[in-house]
Symmetry: C2
Subunit: 329 residues, 2 copies
Amino acid sequence: MKGLVVGAAGMIGRKLVERLARDGSLRDEPIEALHAVDIVAPSPGKTTFPIVCEAFDLAAPYVAPKLVAGRPDVVFLLASIVSGEAEADFDKGYAINLDGSRALLEAIRREYILSGGVYKPRLVFTSSIAVFGAPFPEAIGDEFFLTPLTSYGTQKAIVELLLADYSRRGFLDGVGIRLPTITVRPGAPNKAASGFFSGILREPLAGKEARLPVADSVCHWHASPRSAVGFLLHAATMDTRALGARRSLTMPGVAATVAEQIEALRQRAGERAVKLIRREPDTIVERIVAGWPSRFDASRAESLGFSAERTFAEILDAYIEDEHVHIDA
Amino acid sequence: MKGLVVGAAGMIGRKLVERLARDGSLRDEPIEALHAVDIVAPSPGKTTFPIVCEAFDLAAPYVAPKLVAGRPDVVFLLASIVSGEAEADFDKGYAINLDGSRALLEAIRREYILSGGVYKPRLVFTSSIAVFGAPFPEAIGDEFFLTPLTSYGTQKAIVELLLADYSRRGFLDGVGIRLPTITVRPGAPNKAASGFFSGILREPLAGKEARLPVADSVCHWHASPRSAVGFLLHAATMDTRALGARRSLTMPGVAATVAEQIEALRQRAGERAVKLIRREPDTIVERIVAGWPSRFDASRAESLGFSAERTFAEILDAYIEDEHVHIDA
């Protein structure tokens, strides 16, 4: 099979490519070729199959048709401007998150038409829990309506609608997965408003200070990068007939307060690490986060075979293990 | 105040312009000028204020900026490819219903920026109950999630999301109204899959045969053209602070089965009229209609001052009165 990963240089994209390289196969078929693209060229490690890594801007109209011309069997659409940046730069957010995504769907439809209706790839799209907006019920089910309170959430919700319509019309076989906030993100902080949820663990574990812009009582929905890759692979391989017309699913995760996150840190790395968290309330971040949901009923996804961690301690352990974090407690 | 009606040659657009001409004012202000556009030039009757009628295709990129350049205070966005045509012609439906609408929102945002944030018109957008898709609860509330089962419904749902985001960002002051099926539509049949709901009354009242493509038990959600104009005017004048972030509302209407519609016809025009209805099942129409909802909880719209007929007989009477239908029973 041939795969395409759009957004392969991002944190989840890199981990997805690493995993595909390790597995060497997808959907019980050996990977013949992988095309990994992003706004900067991805630089994956060794693979047993040919891999082409290229830099492209999905907002440029020539790009999507070019990416799909080779008719990949599975397309992972991960590319996204993050929430904080999409809020700060209205045009850029819409150009990438909406128009870029739509261009990719449209390019697939063109290949579908050119192929006489034979070409119909699996498209895995990473949506977000930001498609939901307050006020919320106690736990948000898959049937809760989409009222995003950010431009990012709006863009994700629109692509979910497009994904459903293109799937219904038979142009592609789409699965939208609404990722929890991915915690703990390795590497440098990004511009996501949710970045601090990782920062308050990652930085102290590295002996560095971290800023906490919200109250300890803020509750949020988390899953590890390892689980995120698991979601993507399952979405690429699952039987989509069970989805019906409702193509997007809230992924399972762990609801944890900032206080519970900090407690997990204390248990693994001690009080010295916890003391590196500096409380610096930021009203802009507080306002954005207040519009986000904190607890979900992901039973539909679970019944379809998606699984994640059960406790925040497991999430922290996945980070320590996968990133080979050394703790001198 | 200055008004812009996009889609002014359509059935509802014509009736809206007639009503504005009769009232001479909107939002307690005299109408200084009205710009009425559609894919064919509208031809309204006499007005006491200057009216400019022009033919434009909203899908052409130069059009939306041109329409908004005069900074109308109230914009009515009614232009739409109907459901049947949007399903038959995927490209055309998206070009008009999504891209055309978005171009208008974007043109307003450009004027907002050019004006230094001063220009912020009321935008009234006609959405549709086709934003909802089966399976449905007994009565669909405003918080039921959007899972359209047609491309038309998808396009309307996407514009609802854009309207909410553009309103939230302060670029415009948007109200989306989800119209029931408008019954009885005067004039010639259009390409809407819902056309027969009007045809089975309008044609027999004119002594002509009408085709009924679905079962008598099919239940649907109706309001008169008179109510539709009432919704538009109320959406143009209401205090939008009560809407919060949820900018689109399901309008009130009457849930009636085809059998109940026929009974209303029998009471007003007798058995001879009813005999002109020919039952001709059409599986394509049946499938589309089966995906539509039939009963709503419009209490949010009602509490915000929107009102409609209470019985299907009232809807039929509104048609007979407004269209001066002569019945020789």
